[in-house]
């Protein structure tokens, strides 16, 4: 298989700038942690970060830390520490890795950023159950540990159509966060500031969407694996000018690639859609595996999840409520299937990879017959790989490799 060994992926130049703004973000949080001059809030990744920013909090995202624990492959050693505290190996391995990391006093931040030796301590914890129940339990553990207030938004789940039945109740919950947050921050809520932050978040989201949608080009200038790295600012810095500036830079580079016909995976033969979470500890080996087969996994539900097209600065609460509920993860299988179908068509996809992540049923969409239904409807074949976002004990690299190679051989036969 001489061909397979010559993998070629094109590195993105903007990565360096992303490294810089992410470092700035972590050092700013670290500084606030040391001096306590600015208040720190912890927030879930698709939670009401805009409100927190508008009220002057610096925001730490435990899920981002969870992903770093996965990508640095520290997670697998730390998960058992939380398991021993009664947090099962079957539940969210962001949660178990993160709590394990705290209990052992080890963090990937220390390796990446000189002088930082721990995550910043919170003044308040704010979650949204739109994605799952695990975040509530996760934040509750820290609320107990740090003796700080725990606030939450409880979203309806498995929604078919996002209608008036749902939105006002979520918007109301968001508004009700304001008085306790004013008390914690010692600052009065300023509507204009919130509008400003929501406007910046919307800009970030629009640009992020444009970045991801460049993958519709043949050949695609970007891969899903690039997306999982470059989504960092959309997760932790949305609502800031830094994120907007960054995506303008990245988008310009990708547009240049398109103009020059530059492919992210040289000789792109097959175009795949990734459904589910990445296996953080295997990002580069998976990227290599597919590139070696001249296959670009170029789009995903996961990276698209930080597109919030409904943000409207003129109506912040209602529009945030809508945007954070419109999300794929909050929806019924029926709505999800419709969405994936559109994406398959838009990105001109040859096949789908479903990642059955052992510890995240919420981001796993192949357990209720969806692959079979979608395949029947679209004729696009799919493959399920078993794995996990963080817990590498759940992974067989050999089985993944054989399954992926066999899937590509199947696509070859069809061509």
């Amino acid at each position: 298989m001489a061909e397979e060994k010559k993998s070629w992926r094109k590195p993105i130049k903007a990565t360096k700038e992303m490294g810089r703004i992410m470092a700035e973000y972590f050092y700013e949080l670290h500084d606030a942690d040391q001096t306590r001059k600015q208040k720190i809030a912890w927030c879930t990744s698709v939670g009401p970060a805009e409100i927190l920013r508008a009220m002057g909090f610096l925001v730490h995202f435990p899920e981002n830390h969870g992903a770093m624990l996965g990508a640095s492959r520290m997670a697998t050693d730390l998960i058992p520490v939380a398991n021993a505290q009664g947090y099962s190996p079957d539940i969210c391995s962001y949660l178990t890795a993160d709590i394990g990391s705290y209990l052992k006093g080890e963090t990937p931040l220390a390796k990446a950023y000189k002088g930082i030796d721990s995550v910043p301590k919170p003044d308040v914890l704010v979650y949204n159950t739109n994605q799952c129940r695990d975040v509530q339990d996760w934040f509750a553990w820290y609320a107990e540990e740090f003796k700080v207030p725990l606030l939450g938004i409880h979203t309806h789940r498995n929604i078919v159509d996002v209608t008036e039945v749902y939105i006002p109740s979520i918007a109301k919950q968001m508004e009700e966060l304001i008085p306790p947050l004013e008390e914690i921050s010692g600052k009065k809520f300023d509507m204009d500031e919130l509008k400003h932050v929501v406007a910046l978040s919307r800009k970030c989201s629009d640009l992020w969407q444009e970045v991801l949608f460049t993958a519709a080009n043949v050949p695609s200038p970007i891969t899903f694996f690039d997306g999982t790295i470059h989504m960092g600012p959309a997760v932790v810095l949305r609502g800031t000018q830094a994120a907007v500036d960054y995506y303008e830079l990245l988008l310009a580079e990708l547009k240049e690639r398109i103009q020059n016909g530059v492919a992210a995976v040289e000789g792109e033969r097959f175009r795949l859609y990734w459904e589910g979470m990445p296996v953080w500890g295997r990002l580069s080996s998976h990227a290599k595996l597919f590139a070696g087969l001249k296959t670009n996994v170029l789009a995903s539900t996961y990276c698209n999840s930080w597109i919030f097209a409904d943000f409207d600065p003129e109506d912040p609460f209602m529009s945030m409520a809508k945007a954070y509920t419109e999300l794929f993860i909050v929806r019924s299988d029926h709505a999800k299937e419709k969405y994936i179908e559109e994406m398959l068509d838009f990105f001109k996809v040859d096949g789908i990879i479903y990642h059955d992540a052992k510890t995240c049923p919420y981001n796993t969409n192949c357990r209720y017959g969806m692959p079979q239904r979608l395949e029947k409807k679209t004729g696009i074949p799919s493959l399920i790989i078993n794995g996990d976002l963080n817990d590498l004990r759940m992974i067989s690299d050999e089985q993944t490799k054989t399954n992926v190679e066999a899937f590509i051989e199947q696509l070859e036969e069809r061509k």
């Binding site: 298989m1 050999e398 089985q399 399954n403 190679e405 066999a406 051989e409 199947q410 036969e413």
Partner: protein, 271 residues
């Protein structure tokens, strides 16, 4: 040089056994070999090659092309290309049964259900998940626990009069269940049949089956009673190739033939 008839070799290096097939250009199986894979895949493959060529009655320089497959497909010094075992099983099965079928392959470490259409093209495949339940490894583990030789299992299961039902999903739990049954005085024959039944059940729950079903793999080769039991469960006959264990190796040899023909084509157009 050139006197010996050209042959194509397929070698399937499984986690438990290495299988090799030698075929001529008219797709006749001339020779084959099966050996324990052991720890040195390279050496085992070489020894299989010697045996296979000897049986075929051809020298090594008669080999036109070789494709390897299976878990150790990259550990074969003499192969020029690789294909996954999924593709090779499909191709090997279609060689025996040129029709739309579902293939159930029960191997040493994994199971597969592969569906192919009328033209031999693969429609879908499923490989088993992380656990050994339902594989050859499960039967090996149980034979050790029950202290009965693996090769006696088929005969024992056939003599069962009242099969013991084992409900558990996992190999370790099944082991406990087996011990409980021994303690409560159940007959070994009935327990062994229960083990066979649990292997079949684990495989069947991986995917739905189409009308025609083929069974392959080492477990089937050594325990033909499993096929009879499975046929009873699905309610119709199950097809089994002449050498169920060689399906992957035969498929690999057929790929070798295809690839060689394609290479010859490109060379002639380039010339």
């Amino acid at each position: 040089m050139g006197a010996a008839k050209p042959v194509y070799v397929g070698v399937d290096v499984g986690s438990s056994r290495t299988k090799l097939a030698v075929m001529d250009d008219r797709r006749n199986l001339l020779g084959f070999a099966v050996r324990k894979s052991g720890t040195d895949f390279y050496a085992t493959a070489e020894r299989c090659l010697e045996t296979g060529l000897q049986m075929a009655g051809v020298p090594a320089d008669a080999i036109r092309y070789c494709v390897s497959t299976g878990y150790g497909r990259k550990n074969v010094a003499f192969s020029q290309d690789t294909r996954t075992e999924i593709s090779c099983h499909a191709k090997g099965c279609y060689y025996y049964f040129p029709m739309a079928v579902s293939i159930i392959d029960i191997g040493g470490q994994d199971n597969k259900i592969i569906k192919i259409d009328d033209n031999g093209n693969r429609i879908s495949f499923k490989m088993n998940r992380k656990c050994a339940a339902g594989t050859g490894a499960f039967l090996e583990e149980m034979s050790a626990r029950l202290d009965i030789p693996l090769e006696d299992m088929d005969g024992l299961a056939r003599r069962s009069t009242e099969m013991v039902k084992l409900g558990s999903f996992c190999t370790v739990f099944s082991g406990t269940e087996v011990l409980e049954n021994i303690r409560s005085g159940k007959k070994v024959t009935d327990i062994v049949k229960g083990l066979f039944f649990s292997v079949i059940k684990r495989v069947m729950e991986m995917d739905s089956l189409t009308e025609k079903v083929v069974m392959t793999g080492g477990v089937v080769a050594n325990n033909p009673y499993i096929v009879e039991m499975a046929a009873e469960i699905i309610g119709h006959e199950i097809l089994v190739p002449e050498y169920p264990q060689l399906t992957g190796a035969i498929g690999a040899a057929l790929y070798a033939m295809d690839i060689r023909a394609k290479l010859a084509d490109t060379q002639s157009t380039e010339a």
